[in-house]
Every structure is written in C-alpha cells, then in structure tokens.
C-alpha cells in the first residue's frame, strides 16, 4: 500500500482514540443537560477539581494549607501519608458527590424554572468559584498524576501492523485504556439507566419534569444523582487528561474540545456524544493530515467547530438530538 494511505489509516485510528477522550468530556455535559436542561459550563473545571483533589489525596496534602499557614503562621503542607490510587479515587468520588449536593442545594435549587441562559450563566459562576477553590485548596503548581495507567506506544499493534504493511502504526497505550474505560463507563450508564429504579427515575425526569414529579419522583434527589455521575465522569476524564499532561489549570480548557462534539452529537444523546466524539476526532486529525500542511497547520481548534457547524446546517438538532418541534 502506498505510504500516504498507511499514514492516513494511522491518523484515522489515532483520531478515533482522541475522539473517545473528547466523548468522555462531552458525556458529562450530556448527562446534566438531559436531566435538568442545564448547559453545565463548569464541566471542564470539575474535571480539573477532581484531578487536583485526587492528586492531593494521594499525596496526603493538607487542603487549604496556604490559607491556614497565612492566617495562623503555621507551616504545614502534608499529612505525611500516601494514599493508594484506588482508595484515593473512591475518596475523590465521595468529594464529587458532596460537591454535587452542594451545587444542587445552594445554586441550582434556587434557580429552578429559570430560563436556560440564566442556568448557563450560573454554571459559569460555578466554574469561576470552583477554579478559585481548587487553587486555594491545593495550590496552582503543576502536579504529576500517576495512578498506574500504562503510557507509550503499544508494541503489539506496532509489531502486528509492521508485519502486515511494513509500517508500524503508533497507538498510545493510554488511549487504548481510555477507550476501554469509556466503553465500560457508557455500558455501565446504560445498564444503570435501563435496569435500576434510580436509572428509570432519571430517565423519567429527563423525559418530563412535571410528569416525573407527579408520580412521586424526587427531582432534588435525581438532580444530585445526575450531578454526582457527571462529577464521576469528570473525575475519569481528569485522570485521563491529567496523566497525559500533568494536573494544572489548562486541564479545565478541555471543555472547549467537547463543545463541537456536543453540537454534532446533540445535547441530549449519550450515543450522540460517543459518535460525535469519534467523528470530530477523526475529522480534525484527517483534515490536519491532508490539508493542514497547506494551510500552515494548527487547524484542529477551529476545524472541529466548522465541521460541527456544517453538520448542524443539515440537521439543526445534531446527529441524535431530539427533533425540535416548534409550535406557536
């Protein structure tokens, strides 16, 4: 096979993997939007906050140590213990649940029935708040996150494709792990939504708030639940991206990567987030490979949006979004 075709195949495969990572972030948006109609801008910062908390717990760091030291003149930084990764993940999940409860209790609970743009704005406020809190809690230095995920080129695929085509494909082990985890996560969510009582309640709320309320489902509880799940998804996304680049402020910017995915897949569809992620991942990587050189490179940021825009012109509700029916 000619080199260009092989390269394109390699790029496509990598695009698929990148797409899974985008989808992971987009998933958090979809969950909350579906259940409460809130476009949660804070999703990216939640990933940052989760990853920071995870590292902090693992290293046994004292939260708010700056503040404590500044006020009381003490000099404490660490508890002096190390927490194993798995336990730390469980603890961080706990923190995210508490966060979800707080968000519902102190913010969203007061804003029920407001217009979508007001809710959107509130999540932006939340994003600021959370960013400040996570900086105050854990400091703004760059942190290394290592929960034992493998990284680097996958030898098996490299060797296999080398035998097959005479050119070894590069696939990152971390990406493979991320895909598997994302697949498990989605499968888990589907099972949860289809076969458990809470899951069914969640779907009922997503379908119609009033009707759900009238059959005795607690909206409050469901919303806390949804925010908790979104928090957990943010944690998973935070771990994946944090392992790649270290945990620091820029982690919150991954939300921007998820927006075109959302547009493409539709705001209300979990399969849409996955398929949209894959399309965006492959599309932007292939475009960069084929035309990026001609256009001077670094096209990925805008191409994802333009691709999604073109898609929307054909289907204004996204790939899998609910059909918009308008009545006067």
């Amino acid at each position: 096979m000619p080199d260009q075709v092989l390269f394109a195949m390699e790029v496509t495969l990598n695009g698929l993997m990148a797409g899974v990572l985008y989808a992971l972030v987009a998933l958090g948006f979809v969950l909350i939007f579906k259940a409460s109609g809130i476009f949660n801008f804070a999703q990216g910062v939640m990933a940052l906050f989760a990853a920071m908390t995870l590292v902090g717990i693992m290293e046994g760091q004292v939260p708010f140590s700056h503040l404590i030291n500044a006020t009381f003149g003490t000099d404490i930084h660490h508890f002096g213990w190390q927490v194993p990764a798995l336990l730390a993940i469980v603890l961080t999940t706990g923190v995210m649940v508490v966060l979800a409860w707080c968000v519902q209790r102190f913010v969203m609970g007061h804003l029920v029935n407001q217009e979508p743009i007001i809710l959107f704005m509130a999540t932006i406020g939340l994003a600021y708040f959370l960013e400040g809190v996570s900086d105050l809690m854990w400091g703004s230095e760059i942190r290394t996150l290592d929960v034992g995920l493998p990284q680097g080129i996958n030898e098996t695929i490299d060797a296999f494709t080398y035998d097959l085509f005479g050119y070894g494909f590069f696939i990152d082990n971390l990406d493979i792990v991320a895909s598997v985890i994302a697949a498990l996560l989605v499968a888990g969510l589907v099972v949860f939504a289809q076969y458990t009582k809470q899951g069914r309640a969640m779907r009922a709320v997503a379908d119609d708030h009033q009707a759900a309320l009238s059959v005795g489902i607690s909206l409050n509880f469901i919303w806390v639940l949804v925010w908790s799940i979104a928090g957990f998804v943010a944690l998973v996304a935070g771990i994946m991206w944090g392992t790649k680049s270290g945990v620091q402020f820029s982690l919150s910017l991954i939300a921007l990567k998820a927006l075109p995915v959302l547009m493409l897949g539709g705001f209300t569809s979990i399969p849409g987030a996955i398929v949209g992620g894959l399309i965006i991942g492959v599309g932007e990587k292939l475009f960069e490979f084929l035309l990026g050189g001609l256009m001077g490179g670094a096209t990925e940021n805008w191409f994802a949006y333009v691709l999604a825009l073109l898609f929307l012109l054909v289907r204004p509700q996204g790939l899998f979004g609910e059909k918009i029916i308008e009545r006067v």
């Binding site: 500044a70 600021y128 918009i324």
Partner: protein, 358 residues
Amino acid sequence: MFYREAGDFKTSYRADSQTFPIRFDRYRYYVVLAIAFLVVPFIINDYWANAILLPFLIYAIAAIGLNILVGYCGQLSLGTGGFMAMGAYACYKFMTAFPDLSMFINVILAGVVTAIVGMLFGLPSLRIKGFYLAVATLAAQFFLVWLFNRVPWFYNYSASGQINAPQRTMFGVEITGPLAPAWATYLFCLVFLTLSALIARNLTRGSVGRKWMAIRDMDIAAEIIGVNPLRAKLSAFAVSSFFVGISGALFFALYLGAVEVGEAFNIQKSFLILFMVIIGGLGSVFGSFAGAAFMVLLPVALKVVGVDLLGWPTDTVAHFQLVIVGALIIIFLIAEPHGLAQLWRLAKEKLRLWPFPY
C-alpha cells in the same frame, strides 16, 4: 419625593416619545454627560485612564453590541472575541494602508468590515438556534483568531505576528501610540461610547428593535405576523458586530497599543463580554454599562482591598478573586436573574414613590 413625574406634562408626541420621558431622569443624564465630557478629562491621570476608564468605555461598547444580539434579538453568541479581533485587525490594516485617514474614519470602517463578517457568520442562525447557535458562533471565534495568527498579510509580515498601533493624531493631538495623553484617548472612546449608546437606544425602541424582540420572544410567531427573520436576524448580527468591531479597534489602537491575537482576543474575551451583558441585564442599554463597570471594577477593587489594604499574598488574592467573582455571579442570579439593570429599575420605581409608597 424629588423624583416623580407629577406635573411633568407632555404636549406633543415628540416630547412623549423622547428617550428619557421623566424630567429628573433627563437632567440626571445631562449632568452625567457633562461631568464625563467636561470634568473628567481635566482630572484624569494615566492610571485612571488605562486601568479603569478606557477598559470600561471600550467594554461598554462591546457589551452594547452583544446586548443587541443576545438581549434584544435572542441570538446567543460566543464569537465576540473573534469579532473584536476582526475590528482590531481591520483598523490596523486601514491605519497602515492609509496613514492620512482620520482615526475616526478608521474606527468606523473597522466597524463596517466587522459588520459584514458578522453577517456572514450570522447566516447559520437562520437554521440553528439556542445553545447550538452559541457553540456554532465559537467557530467564528476560533477561525478568525487562527486566520489572523496564520496569514502574515494581516500583521504586515512582522517577525513575531504582533501588531503595533502606529502614531496617529487628531486635531493635532496624539490619540494613539505611547505619547497620547490620557484625556485624549479617554475623550475619543467616550465619543464613540456616547454615539453607540444613542444609536443602540434609538434602534432598539424603533421598528427594527421591535422586530428583533419579536424574533427573540418567539421567532415562528414573529414570522407569522410578518417579520422577516432573515432580515431581522442578519440586521441584528450586523449592528451587533459593528459595535463589537468598533470596540475591538479601540481596544487595540487606543487601549493596548500592541496586540497578539491569540492572547488578547481569545475565547475568554467572548465569555467576559457575555458575563457583562448577563450581569448587567439582557435587553437593556443601561445594563451594558452596569455590567461593563462591574466586571472592570470588581477585580481592581478586590485587588486594592486584598493586596494594598489587607496585605495578603497576591496569589491568594487572585484565587479569592475567582471565588468571589464566581460567588457573586451566582448570588446575583439567584437574587435577581435579570441583572443590575433590573435592580436599577426597581430602585427607580421605589424612588419614584418614596417616601409615600402607597
């Protein structure tokens, strides 16, 4: 007591439909204008101009522009940063290509170019709505920034890709470049802001504005009663981008003087201006002023209190600033979802009847 309409009779339609129908309101407005034009220029210094007043004036123009689109026409846009960049680069190209052209015309032309580009990016709004449209306008944001970073023609092939505002004078006084005195840049921006506010105010209460609001409230219903959505939406995009383009040009030429597109006009700028519009109050010209003042002053005030008065480390203050800004946004939304403009309206209502509310 001192603020009421009793005895304030109108004898003509003209008088009845003026911008500030209540006499006290009108006089207050004249006083503010007089102070802004006649007093402030004499007491202004570099710090006040560059740290607070210029950003306030320029952001207020941008907020008025975005408010027309979001608040009056209901089209959520996150491309403001990109359109500001368009204005800045258009202004730069005009400034360098026609050195003798008056700066005033340069800025207007930059606005016109941005309006055309804005209309182009507004086309999808005919099919895409709500948050989908918001994300779609991000395409404009990212594409424009990439374009200005990528194509050397826009930055006149300079080595680093930065653009620097050359020196230009008006009536013999420098208004761009490092030698420009604070009062001159301030007055120049103030003139633009006053004109923008006047135009915006009169557009929004005329037939154009009513069409926009009809589209905002329900576009299908509006179409049925005879509002052409194509013209209404595109005109909103054009007018909005015109103001945003002007603010971008001023932001570059008068305020910063040197700009790197990826840093000065990134996505954060789009969000910042959207915050101003929402915090200030959607669909209100006064709200744009209030929102811009709030977002410009709050960080400075917090810094002054935290660092200068309390003596805290700057990083802790910066972190607290995020927490406080975030918390304030949330508290505002919970207390008054319709922004500062609504608070102002309520205050006015109360004042009108005070001290005999019933």
